[in-house]
Chain length 212, copies 2
Protein backbone atom coordinates (compact mmCIF):
# COMPACT_ATOMS: atom_id res chain seq x y z
CA UNK A 1 0.00 0.00 0.00
CA UNK A 2 3.10 2.15 0.14
CA UNK A 3 2.88 3.71 -3.27
CA UNK A 4 -0.39 2.42 -4.61
CA UNK A 5 -2.37 4.28 -7.21
CA UNK A 6 -4.53 7.24 -6.34
CA UNK A 7 -7.74 5.24 -6.46
CA UNK A 8 -6.51 2.63 -4.03
CA UNK A 9 -5.01 5.18 -1.70
CA UNK A 10 -8.37 6.90 -1.56
CA UNK A 11 -10.18 3.63 -0.92
CA UNK A 12 -7.73 2.56 1.76
CA UNK A 13 -8.02 5.83 3.60
CA UNK A 14 -11.77 6.24 3.18
CA UNK A 15 -12.35 2.74 4.48
CA UNK A 16 -10.53 3.47 7.72
CA UNK A 17 -12.02 6.91 8.23
CA UNK A 18 -15.57 5.80 7.44
CA UNK A 19 -15.23 3.02 9.98
CA UNK A 20 -13.74 5.36 12.55
CA UNK A 21 -16.05 8.33 12.22
CA UNK A 22 -18.98 7.45 9.99
CA UNK A 23 -19.89 8.55 6.50
CA UNK A 24 -21.36 11.94 7.11
CA UNK A 25 -18.73 12.83 9.66
CA UNK A 26 -15.88 12.09 7.27
CA UNK A 27 -15.15 14.89 4.82
CA UNK A 28 -13.55 14.43 1.46
CA UNK A 29 -10.83 16.78 2.58
CA UNK A 30 -10.02 14.55 5.51
CA UNK A 31 -9.76 11.59 3.18
CA UNK A 32 -7.73 13.24 0.47
CA UNK A 33 -5.33 15.01 2.80
CA UNK A 34 -4.64 11.86 4.77
CA UNK A 35 -4.32 9.88 1.58
CA UNK A 36 -1.95 12.44 0.12
CA UNK A 37 -3.99 13.05 -2.99
CA UNK A 38 -5.69 16.06 -4.40
CA UNK A 39 -9.16 16.94 -3.23
CA UNK A 40 -10.60 16.79 -6.72
CA UNK A 41 -9.38 13.23 -7.17
CA UNK A 42 -12.41 11.79 -5.41
CA UNK A 43 -14.90 13.43 -7.70
CA UNK A 44 -12.71 12.69 -10.68
CA UNK A 45 -12.34 8.98 -10.00
CA UNK A 46 -15.59 8.17 -8.25
CA UNK A 47 -17.95 10.91 -9.34
CA UNK A 48 -19.33 11.73 -5.93
CA UNK A 49 -18.93 11.01 -2.27
CA UNK A 50 -21.84 8.60 -2.26
CA UNK A 51 -20.26 6.61 -5.08
CA UNK A 52 -17.08 6.46 -3.06
CA UNK A 53 -19.01 4.93 -0.18
CA UNK A 54 -20.43 2.30 -2.48
CA UNK A 55 -16.99 1.63 -3.94
CA UNK A 56 -15.58 1.06 -0.47
CA UNK A 57 -18.26 -1.50 0.22
CA UNK A 58 -17.87 -3.23 -3.09
CA UNK A 59 -14.17 -3.65 -2.60
CA UNK A 60 -14.93 -5.22 0.74
CA UNK A 61 -17.93 -7.35 0.05
CA UNK A 62 -17.32 -8.68 -3.43
CA UNK A 63 -14.24 -10.73 -2.48
CA UNK A 64 -15.84 -11.69 0.80
CA UNK A 65 -18.98 -13.01 -0.82
CA UNK A 66 -16.94 -14.81 -3.45
CA UNK A 67 -14.92 -16.50 -0.73
CA UNK A 68 -18.09 -17.39 1.11
CA UNK A 69 -19.56 -18.86 -2.04
CA UNK A 70 -16.41 -20.92 -2.51
CA UNK A 71 -16.52 -22.18 1.05
CA UNK A 72 -20.14 -23.19 0.60
CA UNK A 73 -19.25 -25.02 -2.61
CA UNK A 74 -16.50 -26.77 -0.73
CA UNK A 75 -18.85 -27.69 2.06
CA UNK A 76 -21.44 -29.08 -0.33
CA UNK A 77 -18.83 -31.05 -2.24
CA UNK A 78 -17.30 -32.59 0.85
CA UNK A 79 -20.69 -33.78 2.00
CA UNK A 80 -20.37 -32.26 5.45
CA UNK A 81 -23.68 -32.10 7.21
CA UNK A 82 -25.52 -28.81 7.46
CA UNK A 83 -25.45 -27.81 11.08
CA UNK A 84 -25.68 -24.34 12.59
CA UNK A 85 -22.26 -24.86 14.09
CA UNK A 86 -20.68 -25.65 10.73
CA UNK A 87 -22.32 -22.82 8.87
CA UNK A 88 -21.58 -20.20 11.48
CA UNK A 89 -18.08 -21.61 11.87
CA UNK A 90 -17.42 -21.09 8.19
CA UNK A 91 -18.57 -17.52 8.44
CA UNK A 92 -16.54 -16.67 11.49
CA UNK A 93 -13.39 -18.27 10.15
CA UNK A 94 -13.91 -16.38 6.94
CA UNK A 95 -14.29 -13.04 8.63
CA UNK A 96 -11.46 -13.49 11.09
CA UNK A 97 -9.10 -15.13 8.65
CA UNK A 98 -9.75 -13.18 5.48
CA UNK A 99 -6.95 -10.72 6.15
CA UNK A 100 -4.53 -12.44 8.47
CA UNK A 101 -1.85 -9.89 7.71
CA UNK A 102 -4.09 -7.13 9.04
CA UNK A 103 -6.15 -8.19 12.03
CA UNK A 104 -7.72 -4.77 12.31
CA UNK A 105 -9.31 -5.32 8.97
CA UNK A 106 -12.02 -7.50 10.46
CA UNK A 107 -12.92 -4.77 12.90
CA UNK A 108 -13.19 -2.29 10.07
CA UNK A 109 -15.41 -4.71 8.22
CA UNK A 110 -17.88 -4.87 11.06
CA UNK A 111 -17.84 -1.20 11.80
CA UNK A 112 -18.58 -0.49 8.18
CA UNK A 113 -21.39 -3.02 8.17
CA UNK A 114 -22.81 -1.51 11.31
CA UNK A 115 -22.71 1.92 9.76
CA UNK A 116 -24.40 0.68 6.62
CA UNK A 117 -27.15 -1.07 8.50
CA UNK A 118 -27.87 1.71 10.90
CA UNK A 119 -27.82 4.23 8.08
CA UNK A 120 -31.33 5.49 8.64
CA UNK A 121 -32.87 5.97 5.25
CA UNK A 122 -31.24 2.68 4.43
CA UNK A 123 -30.42 3.18 0.78
CA UNK A 124 -27.07 1.54 1.39
CA UNK A 125 -28.74 -1.33 3.15
CA UNK A 126 -31.02 -1.97 0.23
CA UNK A 127 -28.15 -1.69 -2.18
CA UNK A 128 -26.21 -4.31 -0.25
CA UNK A 129 -29.17 -6.59 -0.01
CA UNK A 130 -29.81 -6.29 -3.70
CA UNK A 131 -26.16 -6.75 -4.59
CA UNK A 132 -25.37 -9.61 -2.28
CA UNK A 133 -28.80 -11.05 -1.55
CA UNK A 134 -28.01 -14.23 -3.45
CA UNK A 135 -25.24 -15.33 -1.09
CA UNK A 136 -27.43 -14.40 1.82
CA UNK A 137 -30.23 -16.59 0.55
CA UNK A 138 -27.86 -19.43 -0.06
CA UNK A 139 -26.63 -19.16 3.50
CA UNK A 140 -30.17 -19.12 4.70
CA UNK A 141 -31.01 -22.24 2.67
CA UNK A 142 -28.18 -24.13 4.30
CA UNK A 143 -29.32 -22.96 7.68
CA UNK A 144 -32.82 -24.12 6.85
CA UNK A 145 -31.51 -27.59 6.13
CA UNK A 146 -29.62 -27.45 9.41
CA UNK A 147 -32.76 -26.73 11.43
CA UNK A 148 -35.66 -28.13 9.42
CA UNK A 149 -37.99 -27.89 12.40
CA UNK A 150 -37.86 -24.11 12.38
CA UNK A 151 -40.37 -22.69 9.89
CA UNK A 152 -38.71 -20.68 7.10
CA UNK A 153 -40.26 -17.39 8.02
CA UNK A 154 -39.24 -17.94 11.60
CA UNK A 155 -35.73 -18.77 10.51
CA UNK A 156 -35.55 -15.64 8.39
CA UNK A 157 -35.93 -13.57 11.49
CA UNK A 158 -33.55 -15.65 13.52
CA UNK A 159 -30.88 -15.12 10.92
CA UNK A 160 -31.57 -11.41 11.11
CA UNK A 161 -31.27 -11.55 14.88
CA UNK A 162 -27.95 -13.32 14.52
CA UNK A 163 -26.73 -10.74 12.08
CA UNK A 164 -27.77 -8.05 14.49
CA UNK A 165 -26.06 -9.57 17.48
CA UNK A 166 -22.88 -10.05 15.49
CA UNK A 167 -22.58 -6.76 13.70
CA UNK A 168 -23.84 -4.74 16.61
CA UNK A 169 -21.41 -6.25 19.07
CA UNK A 170 -18.35 -6.30 16.90
CA UNK A 171 -18.97 -2.89 15.42
CA UNK A 172 -19.02 -1.29 18.84
CA UNK A 173 -16.24 -3.40 20.22
CA UNK A 174 -14.06 -0.51 21.33
CA UNK A 175 -16.51 0.72 23.93
CA UNK A 176 -17.36 -2.80 25.01
CA UNK A 177 -13.71 -3.62 25.48
CA UNK A 178 -13.41 -0.76 27.92
CA UNK A 179 -16.49 -1.79 29.85
CA UNK A 180 -15.40 -5.38 30.07
CA UNK A 181 -11.97 -4.28 31.19
CA UNK A 182 -13.44 -2.13 33.94
CA UNK A 183 -16.20 -4.44 35.15
CA UNK A 184 -14.49 -7.80 34.72
CA UNK A 185 -10.82 -6.96 34.47
CA UNK A 186 -10.93 -8.94 31.27
CA UNK A 187 -9.22 -8.22 27.98
CA UNK A 188 -10.96 -9.47 24.90
CA UNK A 189 -10.17 -9.83 21.25
CA UNK A 190 -12.34 -10.27 18.20
CA UNK A 191 -11.61 -13.97 18.32
CA UNK A 192 -12.76 -14.18 21.95
CA UNK A 193 -16.03 -12.56 21.08
CA UNK A 194 -16.78 -14.82 18.17
CA UNK A 195 -15.96 -17.81 20.34
CA UNK A 196 -18.57 -16.61 22.81
CA UNK A 197 -20.93 -15.54 20.08
CA UNK A 198 -21.22 -18.87 18.32
CA UNK A 199 -22.90 -20.82 21.13
CA UNK A 200 -25.25 -17.92 21.70
CA UNK A 201 -26.32 -17.82 18.07
CA UNK A 202 -26.64 -21.59 17.82
CA UNK A 203 -28.78 -21.60 20.94
CA UNK A 204 -30.99 -18.90 19.51
CA UNK A 205 -31.37 -20.49 16.09
CA UNK A 206 -32.15 -23.89 17.52
CA UNK A 207 -34.53 -22.56 20.15
CA UNK A 208 -37.93 -24.22 20.28
CA UNK A 209 -40.57 -22.45 18.26
CA UNK A 210 -43.41 -21.42 20.54
CA UNK A 211 -46.86 -22.65 19.62
CA UNK A 212 -48.93 -19.88 18.09
Amino acid sequence: MAQAGTVDRILDTAEVLFAQKGFAETSLRAITSKAGVNLAAVNYHFGSKESLVQAVFERFLTPFCAALDAKLDEMEASGVADTPENILGIMSRLVLGSHPEDPQRAAIFFRLSGQAYSQPQGHLREYLHQQYGAVFRRLQDHMQRAVPDVPPRELFWRVQFSLGATIFTLSGLESLKDISRNDFNMDVTEADITQRLLPFLVGGIKAPVPAV
Copy 2:
Protein backbone atom coordinates in the same frame (compact mmCIF):
# COMPACT_ATOMS: atom_id res chain seq x y z
CA MET B 1 -48.50 18.38 21.11
CA ALA B 2 -50.65 20.88 19.30
CA GLN B 3 -49.50 24.06 20.99
CA ALA B 4 -46.79 22.86 23.33
CA GLY B 5 -43.96 25.10 24.41
CA THR B 6 -41.04 25.79 22.17
CA VAL B 7 -38.77 23.39 24.02
CA ASP B 8 -41.13 20.48 23.67
CA ARG B 9 -41.91 21.21 20.06
CA ILE B 10 -38.21 21.13 19.33
CA LEU B 11 -37.75 17.86 21.21
CA ASP B 12 -40.73 16.23 19.55
CA THR B 13 -39.55 17.16 16.10
CA ALA B 14 -35.88 16.44 16.69
CA GLU B 15 -36.73 13.02 18.05
CA VAL B 16 -38.54 12.03 14.89
CA LEU B 17 -36.01 13.50 12.51
CA PHE B 18 -33.02 12.07 14.33
CA ALA B 19 -34.60 8.65 14.17
CA GLN B 20 -35.47 9.08 10.50
CA LYS B 21 -32.24 10.50 9.18
CA GLY B 22 -29.57 10.35 11.85
CA PHE B 23 -27.93 13.06 13.90
CA ALA B 24 -25.41 14.46 11.47
CA GLU B 25 -27.87 14.30 8.60
CA THR B 26 -30.49 16.31 10.45
CA SER B 27 -29.89 20.05 10.39
CA LEU B 28 -31.13 22.48 12.98
CA ARG B 29 -32.94 24.29 10.21
CA ALA B 30 -34.84 21.14 9.33
CA ILE B 31 -35.85 20.74 12.94
CA THR B 32 -36.82 24.32 13.62
CA SER B 33 -38.70 24.83 10.39
CA LYS B 34 -40.71 21.64 10.83
CA ALA B 35 -41.31 22.48 14.47
CA GLY B 36 -42.44 25.98 13.57
CA VAL B 37 -39.96 27.71 15.81
CA ASN B 38 -37.14 30.08 15.15
CA LEU B 39 -33.74 28.74 14.22
CA ALA B 40 -32.04 30.42 17.16
CA ALA B 41 -34.37 28.71 19.59
CA VAL B 42 -32.27 25.56 19.67
CA ASN B 43 -29.10 27.32 20.67
CA TYR B 44 -31.02 29.50 23.07
CA HIS B 45 -32.77 26.67 24.90
CA PHE B 46 -30.24 23.87 24.57
CA GLY B 47 -26.95 25.64 23.97
CA SER B 48 -25.80 23.50 21.07
CA LYS B 49 -26.88 20.79 18.74
CA GLU B 50 -25.03 18.14 20.71
CA SER B 51 -26.84 19.15 23.88
CA LEU B 52 -30.08 18.82 22.00
CA VAL B 53 -29.19 15.26 21.10
CA GLN B 54 -28.51 14.47 24.73
CA ALA B 55 -31.75 16.14 25.77
CA VAL B 56 -33.69 13.99 23.32
CA PHE B 57 -32.17 10.88 24.83
CA GLU B 58 -32.73 11.99 28.38
CA ARG B 59 -36.38 12.66 27.76
CA PHE B 60 -36.64 9.16 26.40
CA LEU B 61 -34.50 7.14 28.70
CA THR B 62 -35.08 8.68 32.10
CA PRO B 63 -38.77 7.74 32.28
CA PHE B 64 -38.06 4.42 30.66
CA CYS B 65 -35.39 3.46 33.15
CA ALA B 66 -37.55 4.66 36.00
CA ALA B 67 -40.38 2.46 34.77
CA LEU B 68 -38.00 -0.45 34.40
CA ASP B 69 -36.74 0.07 37.91
CA ALA B 70 -40.31 0.09 39.17
CA LYS B 71 -41.11 -3.11 37.30
CA LEU B 72 -38.08 -4.78 38.79
CA ASP B 73 -39.10 -3.63 42.26
CA GLU B 74 -42.53 -5.07 41.60
CA MET B 75 -41.02 -8.32 40.42
CA GLU B 76 -38.80 -8.63 43.46
CA ALA B 77 -41.65 -7.82 45.82
CA SER B 78 -44.02 -10.33 44.30
CA GLY B 79 -41.44 -13.07 44.65
CA VAL B 80 -41.69 -14.13 41.02
CA ALA B 81 -38.79 -16.32 40.05
CA ASP B 82 -35.96 -14.88 37.98
CA THR B 83 -36.16 -16.53 34.59
CA PRO B 84 -34.93 -15.21 31.25
CA GLU B 85 -38.48 -15.35 30.00
CA ASN B 86 -39.77 -13.17 32.83
CA ILE B 87 -37.00 -10.61 32.62
CA LEU B 88 -37.12 -10.26 28.86
CA GLY B 89 -40.90 -10.25 29.00
CA ILE B 90 -40.86 -7.29 31.35
CA MET B 91 -38.58 -5.42 29.02
CA SER B 92 -40.57 -6.10 25.90
CA ARG B 93 -43.86 -5.23 27.51
CA LEU B 94 -42.30 -2.05 28.78
CA VAL B 95 -41.01 -0.99 25.40
CA LEU B 96 -44.10 -1.92 23.46
CA GLY B 97 -46.53 -0.64 26.04
CA SER B 98 -44.83 2.50 27.23
CA HIS B 99 -46.64 4.71 24.75
CA PRO B 100 -49.80 2.89 23.77
CA GLU B 101 -51.30 6.04 22.30
CA ASP B 102 -48.42 6.27 19.83
CA PRO B 103 -47.25 2.88 18.57
CA GLN B 104 -44.62 4.47 16.37
CA ARG B 105 -42.91 5.71 19.47
CA ALA B 106 -41.38 2.32 20.15
CA ALA B 107 -39.88 2.29 16.66
CA ILE B 108 -38.41 5.71 17.23
CA PHE B 109 -36.95 4.50 20.49
CA PHE B 110 -35.09 1.70 18.79
CA ARG B 111 -33.92 3.72 15.87
CA LEU B 112 -32.52 6.29 18.24
CA SER B 113 -30.80 3.62 20.29
CA GLY B 114 -29.34 2.10 17.17
CA GLN B 115 -28.04 5.47 16.09
CA ALA B 116 -26.49 6.06 19.48
CA TYR B 117 -24.80 2.70 19.59
CA SER B 118 -23.49 2.76 16.07
CA GLN B 119 -22.25 6.30 16.54
CA PRO B 120 -18.63 5.61 15.79
CA GLN B 121 -16.62 7.57 18.28
CA GLY B 122 -19.21 6.44 20.76
CA HIS B 123 -19.30 9.42 23.07
CA LEU B 124 -23.04 9.11 23.22
CA ARG B 125 -22.74 5.43 23.95
CA GLU B 126 -20.49 6.10 26.90
CA TYR B 127 -22.74 8.85 28.13
CA LEU B 128 -25.70 6.52 28.08
CA HIS B 129 -23.79 3.75 29.77
CA GLN B 130 -22.63 6.12 32.46
CA GLN B 131 -26.05 7.65 32.90
CA TYR B 132 -28.09 4.49 32.92
CA GLY B 133 -25.51 1.85 33.74
CA ALA B 134 -27.09 1.17 37.11
CA VAL B 135 -30.34 -0.12 35.67
CA PHE B 136 -28.40 -2.12 33.18
CA ARG B 137 -26.36 -3.79 35.92
CA ARG B 138 -29.50 -4.49 37.90
CA LEU B 139 -31.02 -6.18 34.89
CA GLN B 140 -27.88 -8.16 34.44
CA ASP B 141 -27.92 -9.27 38.09
CA HIS B 142 -31.42 -10.60 37.69
CA MET B 143 -30.40 -12.39 34.56
CA GLN B 144 -27.47 -13.88 36.41
CA ARG B 145 -29.81 -15.30 39.00
CA ALA B 146 -31.94 -16.66 36.19
CA VAL B 147 -29.06 -18.59 34.64
CA PRO B 148 -26.58 -19.27 37.45
CA ASP B 149 -24.77 -21.85 35.36
CA VAL B 150 -23.54 -19.23 32.92
CA PRO B 151 -20.40 -17.53 34.22
CA PRO B 152 -20.84 -13.78 34.79
CA ARG B 153 -18.37 -12.68 32.17
CA GLU B 154 -19.97 -15.02 29.70
CA LEU B 155 -23.38 -13.63 30.57
CA PHE B 156 -22.16 -10.08 30.13
CA TRP B 157 -21.50 -10.80 26.50
CA ARG B 158 -24.71 -12.70 26.01
CA VAL B 159 -26.64 -9.73 27.26
CA GLN B 160 -24.72 -7.57 24.82
CA PHE B 161 -25.55 -9.98 22.04
CA SER B 162 -29.20 -9.80 23.02
CA LEU B 163 -29.10 -6.04 23.01
CA GLY B 164 -27.52 -6.15 19.60
CA ALA B 165 -30.05 -8.50 18.10
CA THR B 166 -32.88 -6.43 19.48
CA ILE B 167 -31.76 -2.93 18.66
CA PHE B 168 -30.28 -3.88 15.33
CA THR B 169 -33.39 -5.66 14.15
CA LEU B 170 -35.94 -3.21 15.40
CA SER B 171 -33.98 -0.16 14.39
CA GLY B 172 -33.86 -1.26 10.79
CA LEU B 173 -37.34 -2.62 10.73
CA GLU B 174 -38.50 -0.62 7.76
CA SER B 175 -36.14 -2.31 5.33
CA LEU B 176 -36.74 -5.70 6.90
CA LYS B 177 -40.47 -5.28 6.59
CA ASP B 178 -40.09 -4.81 2.86
CA ILE B 179 -37.84 -7.84 2.50
CA SER B 180 -40.14 -10.04 4.50
CA ARG B 181 -43.08 -8.81 2.47
CA ASN B 182 -41.35 -9.64 -0.78
CA ASP B 183 -39.77 -12.96 0.17
CA PHE B 184 -42.45 -14.36 2.42
CA ASN B 185 -45.51 -12.33 1.58
CA MET B 186 -45.70 -11.64 5.27
CA ASP B 187 -46.56 -8.42 7.05
CA VAL B 188 -45.00 -7.90 10.41
CA THR B 189 -45.34 -5.52 13.30
CA GLU B 190 -43.07 -4.60 16.17
CA ALA B 191 -45.07 -6.94 18.36
CA ASP B 192 -44.58 -9.82 15.91
CA ILE B 193 -40.85 -9.33 15.97
CA THR B 194 -40.57 -9.25 19.72
CA GLN B 195 -42.67 -12.38 19.91
CA ARG B 196 -40.16 -14.08 17.62
CA LEU B 197 -37.25 -12.43 19.31
CA LEU B 198 -37.92 -13.65 22.82
CA PRO B 199 -37.41 -17.39 22.19
CA PHE B 200 -34.29 -16.62 20.22
CA LEU B 201 -32.78 -14.58 23.03
CA VAL B 202 -33.78 -17.08 25.68
CA GLY B 203 -32.21 -19.85 23.64
CA GLY B 204 -29.03 -17.86 23.28
CA ILE B 205 -28.78 -16.87 26.90
CA LYS B 206 -29.44 -20.38 28.14
CA ALA B 207 -27.14 -22.00 25.63
CA PRO B 208 -24.58 -24.41 27.07
CA VAL B 209 -21.24 -22.84 27.80
CA PRO B 210 -18.56 -24.63 25.81
CA ALA B 211 -15.66 -26.06 27.75
CA VAL B 212 -12.57 -23.93 27.37
